[in-house]
Symmetry: C2
Subunit: 134 residues, 2 copies
């Protein structure tokens, strides 16, 4: 039994649509855009992950902020141990820092992602099962 399906599917921001950037993910993710305004230089979206789903190793050329909303997730910065991300926790990924994020293997997860509109993302290899479960 996978955990937190109802909490993530009914999270306060909504789960949105199947993620059009899915080619850079292992497993199924969903994207709900929350901010589309000319009055700010930021993008904000709610990203939801089915159990086991994670994005590829990648880096942004500016910061990214992850805000845990529901369920239970993982994130890892290259060269550091994988960490658990819970609802209410806020993580800053520094610019030009290789990392990945997603759900845990037995739980759904969603987090807000906040970054500059101008930030560029460089996508790398998928996170292998050995890396994901390490």
């Amino acid at each position: 039994m996978k955990k937190f399906k109802d909490e993530v599917q009914n999270n306060l921001f909504g789960i949105g649509e199947k993620n059009q950037y899915g080619e850079f993910f292992t497993g199924q993710s969903y994207l709900k855009t929350l901010l589309d305004s000319p009055d700010t230089d930021l993008l904000m979206a709610n990203v939801s992950f089915e159990p086991g789903c994670r994005n590829n190793w990648h880096a942004h050329n500016d910061y990214q902020i992850l805000v845990g909303i529901a369920g239970e997730g993982f994130y890892q910065i290259d060269g550091q141990a994988k960490k658990v991300l819970h609802p209410g926790e806020v993580v800053v990924i520094p610019k030009n820092t290789k990392h990945w994020h997603g759900a845990t293997d037995d739980s759904w997860f969603c987090h807000l992602a906040i970054m500059k509109k101008s930030a560029k993302t460089t996508w790398g290899d998928p996170v292998t099962d050995d890396e994901y479960l390490a």
Copy 2:
């Protein structure tokens, strides 16, 4: 009976401490800082309001983003009608725009506030009961 006390007091980010900027508020508010990192140019905090609490009319010299988290709130931009803000809703206050925000008169409320570290706030008059209840 005031609504959403438990939801706001137990919101996923925590309610934090009594707001040190309370001189610019009518009623009791609370502040929980969520971001304190040299790797981003943003501030993020969760601001909680007891029923009837609102901040003074004010303006920032850069954008501010409000993200409804729990309860039910109001916000108003000068010259426009007061609007209700619910959990999951995201509002952008453009730079140099006079506005106020807070709880409704019969509900607790909390929202995330996101703005640049460099933004300056100019505080104005309290929101009168006539303005608040209009």
